[in-house]
Structure formats: structure tokens, C-alpha cells
């Protein structure tokens, strides 16, 4: 009954006192935090141009000229870094039947009735939403960003197209920021989640509570002796 897409390389139960569950390898964690850092820099430098009330944010980078220069460069780093994350995580984020049930029980989740939630694999539907919406939005941001990046791509598209690129870039930025708020807040609200991305492992209780299907899979593999293959 093994479903190979449920676990990612490195995922395993590590026996000990107490036992822990390995969730992200060092490479994935470094990759994630590079992505996160560039995302924050992008949001701050982008928002500086987004609204006059936020123009002061450009001074964090040493002024408007510098923020304007750096922003698209951060964008390239983000796109490359996210691509690497994507290649590692996309399988685990494919939509599964239990995800629909999970969404149907969202009310229970917010109300704190965790026991009513269906068992999910490595990622729940909320995490999958964050993953796919960021993947799509970053493609849009990269495309529109290049269209308005005059320093290197001036005249790549006609001006009416650049105007559309600007509004799409700005609207998508708002959505990116909303998704990032959701992502960061979920990580804070669901206590114990930061461990996964900082230490790389979570407690058995956390794995049991939040990603039981994934956890069961790891236990099966361990029992079968295939967990370190």
C-alpha cells in the first residue's frame, strides 16, 4: 500500500529519546530561507514603489535609485531559488482526494477541532494552496517584471503591453503578499512548524497531529526496513 509520492527524500523517523521525524534536509532548508529572504527584500523594495505612503521603504536599501536597481535582481534570485524548491516539493503537493475533505473541514480547523480533520500526507490543502499559488504568481511576476525592466529589456514589448504588465505585476504583488501573510501566519499559529524548517525535524506528536498519513507511511517504511533507501 505504499504511495511513493507521500514522502520526500530524507523524510524518516529518527528513533531516540524522544523520537523525532525528519522533515526537511539541510539543502531544502537553506533553499527555503534564501527564497524567504529574497521574498522579503522583494516585497519591501517593491512596496516602496507601489504607494507614495510606502516610498520611505526605499531608504532601507539606500534610496529609490538603489531599491529600483536591486528589486529585479532580487527577483531573479527568487525565481531561481523558488524553482529549486519547486523541483523538490511539487510531487508532495499534487492534489489528493483527502484534500477536498480537508478543505470541507476548514471551519473545524479554525475552531480548534483538529480531531475532526481528515488525515493528510506531507502537505495539507492549505500548504498546497500556498505552494501552487506562489508558483503561478512567481511565473507571472517574472514575466511581467522582465517586461517592465527597462535597464535590460527596454522595448522588448510595446508600451501598451508594458502598461498591462505594470498593473498585472502590481495586482499579483498584492496576491503574493496576501499568500505570504497566510503562509507565515499559519507557520506561527500551528506551533512546532518552525522546527521543521529550522532544525529539519518535528516531534512525533506534531507529525501525528498534522500529517498523520505521511507519518504512517514513514512508520511503514521503517518497519519494512526501507526508510533509509
Amino acid at each position: 500500500m505504499s504511495q511513493p509520492t507521500l514522502v520526500e527524500p530524507g523524510d524518516a523517523i529518527r528513533p531516540g529519546e524522544p523520537p523525532v521525524v525528519e522533515r526537511y534536509r539541510a539543502g531544502a532548508r537553506i533553499n527555503h530561507w534564501i527564497t524567504a529572504l529574497t521574498m522579503v527584500l522583494l516585497i519591501l523594495s517593491g512596496l516602496g514603489l507601489f504607494h507614495p505612503a510606502l516610498f520611505f521603504l526605499t531608504s532601507l536599501f539606500g534610496g529609490g535609485q538603489i531599491a529600483r536597481t536591486l528589486h529585479p535582481l532580487f527577483g531573479l534570485v527568487l525565481a531561481a531559488s523558488f524553482l529549486l524548491l519547486f523541483l523538490q516539493f511539487w510531487r508532495g503537493n499534487l492534489w489528493k482526494p483527502e484534500d477536498g475533505a480537508w478543505v470541507a473541514h476548514l471551519g473545524d480547523l479554525v475552531a480548534g477541532h483538529d480531531e475532526k480533520m481528515p488525515e493528510v500526507g506531507k502537505y495539507n490543502a492549505g500548504q498546497k494552496f500556498v505552494f501552487w499559488s506562489l508558483a503561478a504568481l512567481i511565473v507571472v511576476m517574472l514575466t511581467t517584471g522582465i517586461m517592465i525592466w527597462d535597464q535590460f529589456f527596454e522595448g522588448l514589448t510595446p508600451i501598451p503591453a508594458q502598461r498591462i504588465a505594470l498593473i498585472v505585476h502590481a495586482v499579483s504583488a498584492v496576491f503574493v503578499i496576501l499568500v505570504i501573510i497566510l503562509h507565515v501566519y499559519a507557520a506561527i499559529w500551528v506551533r512546532g512548524s518552525f522546527d521543521a524548517m529550522i532544525k529539519g525535524h518535528v516531534t512525533a506528536g506534531w507529525a501525528w497531529r498534522h500529517h498523520r498519513k505521511w507519518f504512517r507511511q514513514l512508520a511503514e517504511r521503517r518497519a519494512a526496513g526501507t526508510d533509509r533507501l
Partner: protein, 323 residues
Amino acid sequence: MLDSPRDPAVSNPPVQGFKENLGKGDVVRRSATASLPPPTRKLDEVAKLIDVSKCIGCKACQSACVEWNDTQPDIEENVGAYTNPHDLTPDMFTLMRFEEWENPATSDLEWLIRKDGCMHCEDPGCLKACPSPGAIVQYSNGIVDIDHDACIGCGYCVKGCPFDIPRVSKKDHKAYKCTLCSDRVAVGQGPACAKACPTQAIVFGTKTEMKAHAEERIADLKSRGYENAGLYDPKGVGGTHVMYVLHHADKPHIYSGLPDDPAISPVVTAWKGVTKSAGLLAMGLAAAATIAHGIFAKPDRVTAEDEDAGRALAEGDGTGGRP
């Protein structure tokens, strides 16, 4: 006290004393600035009138512009056209565009020469698009000017402009365009191009005078068979402070693509308007909602039962794990 030159034809400076204008108190619009102190006075609106029918394409105006603004346009290739350089550049604020047009009514070849450059719109798209506070200002006499100290070189003005005028320099990353010689006008002189024009195809004065002068020119053109002669002062941008007398005012586009009905693109208006206000609101609400939830709602914590069940699964034979 005069605030702009009075002789529409030759724009010679006044000989009497002239108090410098175009200071802070004369600014009526400022980019990325919500509340601007009201101007301390209202200057007479000025305008440059370019009579296309009088232009001989000598480019004295272009040379005068380069000289006065001390720019160094690149030497380019001759591609068999008089238009030179190939386009407006950060170092070429005005450009004579040459168009050979066959008049379908007469089958005559007409050589249409238009001096392109900033139109100094009453409702400037560049200023609307600009994200940098004070990088673009509009004075109460109608001049739209770029403050290079505040410009960050983002190129939004290029996208906001309905006439495709501003150009961002690859050297200093700042936007450049015709200033209507604001530095000359501020001390009572006319623009360098108008001063240099040998046929007085370019004249400068108050907007009222320029319109009156245009009427005379249009009447003259009509009397000579140009029944569609007219003034180009497009309403879509609230009128302009650079106007043309066109012999075919019914079809401005034949003059090297002069827009028939220019206006700030609705995309730009939506981008700088509802996108910004709704976007800021949505982000603010989302941030506030999560902070409130964080403070008032119970965090989702792993319970002791979860830990027991988890340990049982981790240490069990892999089949169950329910306590």
C-alpha cells in the same frame, strides 16, 4: 509684473526687470504627493505653438535644444531618412519627424514635418505614473518638469505618457524630456527652439495669445485651400501647453503618428488608482486580521495525547499507532 514673455512671434526677453518665477509656490501638481500646499499665486498659462505648415525642417530648433540643454546626442548611422537621431533619446529632447504622405484627395505627395517632444499636458500621464515624490512637477503656468534629484529611473513615466516622450538615460538612470525651457521661462525668456526658429514656425507666449495667433494662421491656411486646418490642443489630456497648427487637423496621425485622441490610458489610471487603494486595504486588513487572530485565538498546539500517539507510531511495528 510680467511672468512670461509677451511677444508671441520672436519671444525676445522683456527688457524691464523680471522677478524669477517657477519656485515652490508655483507648483500645482507633484508626483506621488497626496496633499500639496496650495500654490501661492497663479501664473499666466504659457504655450508653445508649432505651426507645421511653416516649418522647413531645418532643425535649427533641434540644434538650439542640444545647445541650450548641453546634451550630447550620439552620432548615428544615416539610414536614408532626414529624421535624425532615429528617435527621441535621453540626449535629444525634441526631434523633427519627416513623413512622406500621399494625399488621397489630390494624389499630391506632401512632406509632413513635425517637431516631436513633450506636449506639457494639462493632465500629465508621466506625473500620474511616477512613484517618486516630487520627481515630476507641474507649475501653474502649465510646464511639466522632471526634478532629476528625485528621479529614480524606474521608467514609469515612459509608460504613463500618452505621447511616448520621456526617455530614461542608461548613463545616470534618470528620465529626460523637453522642459519647455523652464529655466529660461523662469527668467522671462522663451524656449531655445522658438528663439532659433528662422521661420517663426515655433512661437511662444501665453496660451491665450497662442490660441489667438493660431486662429489667424488657421484662417490663412483655410483661405489657401486647407479646409481641415486646425489647432491641435487635445482635450483628452486637458489640453496641452505645446500646440500644433496642422493643415490636416482632422487626421493628426498622418504626422508621424501624432495621436488622434490622446488620453492617459485607462490601464494606467486603474493601476495608479483602484489597484493601489484596494491593494493597500487588502494587505492592511490581512495583516490586521492575522495579528488579531494571533492575539485573541488559541494557538494550535500539539497535545500530550498527540505526543503519546506519535511516539507509539514511531516506536511501534508500523501498523497502527492509535493508543
